[in-house]
Symmetry: C2
Subunit: 184 residues, 2 copies
Amino acid sequence: MSLNVSGSLREIERYIKTVPDFPRAGISFKDITPLIESGQALHAAVDALAKAVESVEFDRIISAEARGFVLGTALAYRTRKGLILARKPNKLPRARISATYDLEYGTDVLEVHADAIPPGSRILVTDDLLATGGTARAMCELVEKAGGTVACAAFLIELSYLEGRQRLAPYPVVSLLDYNDPNA
Amino acid sequence: MSLNVSGSLREIERYIKTVPDFPRAGISFKDITPLIESGQALHAAVDALAKAVESVEFDRIISAEARGFVLGTALAYRTRKGLILARKPNKLPRARISATYDLEYGTDVLEVHADAIPPGSRILVTDDLLATGGTARAMCELVEKAGGTVACAAFLIELSYLEGRQRLAPYPVVSLLDYNDPNA
């Protein structure tokens, strides 16, 4: 595990539990619920994410159902920006655009309201975890389809051995904690 | 529609769209995505929720997947408290406790990690919308099962004609916007 931003993240990292063989054998799941349950750690993580993107100009944030909403909304509140909800199919009630994507384990579809991404707007893509990049890549596609621009993609955790960052090229990618060992 | 807290909520209410017959005929769906997409409205809504519960003593907040995470996390950040994620089945990787509940349209199960609610802790239950109260009642049950205490239940929107507040008795309930007409 390496730290991309500052030593205060060592404190945050203590709250992340690695759960072996979840959701299936061979996957080391990064459980961030202890971090989210700590008022101090949640606050520090959101502030660190905000600091990591402070030089990025953006109009709105987009994050994906369901775990992505957690850091996405807190970051939106912290940066005084709006949040676009990328949801599973048939959850949004009005006209939608959609993108299909591969997950680390399976495939899925994400949808946003057709009017959620104004043409020409600059959008910050965010999620708690960058693994193979499927979910984030789908959010980038939604931004592109709507005529917006991806300003940056920002993550709390990156599993760099899965090379998700390469899949999001040419967009800039920021992450706070990098786990570069699949067995860690 | 009536306002429970202050006139500044009139601004917030403008961002809520009522979508008729979603997810099925006869349901007037309150779509808060335009509110969440506005940095100003999201910030104002979270601040108003924080103000509405400022006299409540609590240790952590609990909110339910997926839409509940949106205001839940922002409120957690704003109040410097931790957030407990009540999730759909098989999403949480470690030992869990669960509660079954009736939705406005169907039934479902919510789970929390068994160590998420410390015995004796005071928990603020929150969600974007109080309808029949099934989801919120399930969160109260999870708090009780774990040996915690429900300090208060707080909502952005209440559909008071569905009498969810009565279902949450004897716990105190706070809401910011009340729609008391099923056809509004």
